[in-house]
Amino acid sequence: MIDSGDTTWILVSSALVLVMTPALAFFYGGMVRKKNILSTLNLSFVMMCLISVQWLLCGYSLAFGSDVGGGLLGGLEFLGLQGVGAEPLEGMTIPYMLFAAFQMMFAIITPALITGAFVERVRFKTFLVFSLLWATLIYDPVCHWVWGPGGILGPDGLGALDFAGGTVVHMTAGFSALAFALAIGPRKGFGSQSFEPANIPYSVLGAGLLWMGWFGFNGGSALAANGTAVQALFTTNTAAAAAGLVWMILSWTDNKPSVLGIVTGAVVGLVAITPGAGFVTPLGALAIGALVAPISYYAIKFIKGRNLVDESLDVFACHGLGGLWGALATGLFAASSVGGVDGLFYGNPGQFLAQLWAALLAIGVSFGVTFVLAKVLNATMGLRVSDNEEQVGLDVSEHAERAYA
């Protein structure tokens, strides 16, 4: 039976999650140099075009088709979204096509998150091929494992909790970002020049819109306009607030309270609460948010301080580690009074282990497959623009446009 209240909320949530991709574009776009702003904005924006088509043609079916291969992949019955219509799936109160649309927004933003790893040097053509393959080879399968019918990590398998995509979205993106950054190599001048963000106000704008969009991301993941949605909205807001405050204090002790730092803190708080949003209490969310900030903060300091890898916009530190912490923290802080499942702190250590195994599998697959994929694309198409093109900037060399006249 379709419930109009539930349907309305998921329609609105779908729009909220879609806006997160251009929000991310601005969040990232503000942090690059002036000559790469348009290029960076576009890496995210174009995912709305590319993945929307991929999702319709095959992505949705691979993720949510009836299980083939013992929990590894969805079947092909929904290719072209055939058979996905206005009728709700059994046990749901929204049109099945709305579920497919809502899920599509997650599929779009996830490869966009990775782009922060290779901004200012990636060849656009190769990036498009990479994103298409990445969505098909990593996102769709992992989505099936966690959320698809019969998936190996979800309720029919290991029983790992992932309310809104800590594993499916943030861990896959974060660890793939690290692999890609290693494969493509650093920007010219990395370690010797300081790359000053060209437009921090863009990043503040983007982070603010991400925060708002996340209410749809997590709140909508209840798939109904109910108490769980409200719970998720509240925990989401709490974790963002706590992480923003803690990041502010950390940056204050190092120098001054950096605005870019405060908004980054809020975003990592949002990342960390994603898997547990509907499973933990607001106080649990406070702890999850407060603790993710030092994890990502000191990870960035460690990586950047030693010039280990030019993961340019800290996708690994923020989404990879933030997502990992969130997934593990869900196994610690989950309370059956909230979402029906207890974590370690409520006497259920098995849940923590399930979170851990699911995370390790997602990390291994994301990192491994992305690294191989990037190396193959590097050998065949080339991952990077030429040195000269990189120095000119990708706005002109890849798009023949300038951000500012």
Partner: protein, 122 residues
Amino acid sequence: MTKKIEAIIREEKLEDVKSALHEIGIVGMNVFEICGHGRQGGITLAGRTGTYQVDMLPKMQLNIVLSDHNVEKTIATIREAASTGEPGDGIVFVYPVEDVIRIRTGERGREALHYEGDIDTR
């Protein structure tokens, strides 16, 4: 007989310098937003985490053309208005000017610099 003063000052001192110059009768100038650094080097900014160095700092450059005998007075005025006593206050260059031509009238040299109330008419 005609000189060009090129003064590089702190960007936040532009208004003070402009009004001080106006008081002594400097009505014509060009102002440029530039960036660079002198002996004071760069500054430290807060990043996402920790800090980083920026060595190209925003400055303002004023170009003023006037007669020889007004140069010292102008330099003194700029120094007084632009100074904070800290490194980074800026620098003043003085160059000889070979000729000046006013486009509308074709006047040349000192003639071309005369404006009502200008320092050169006082």
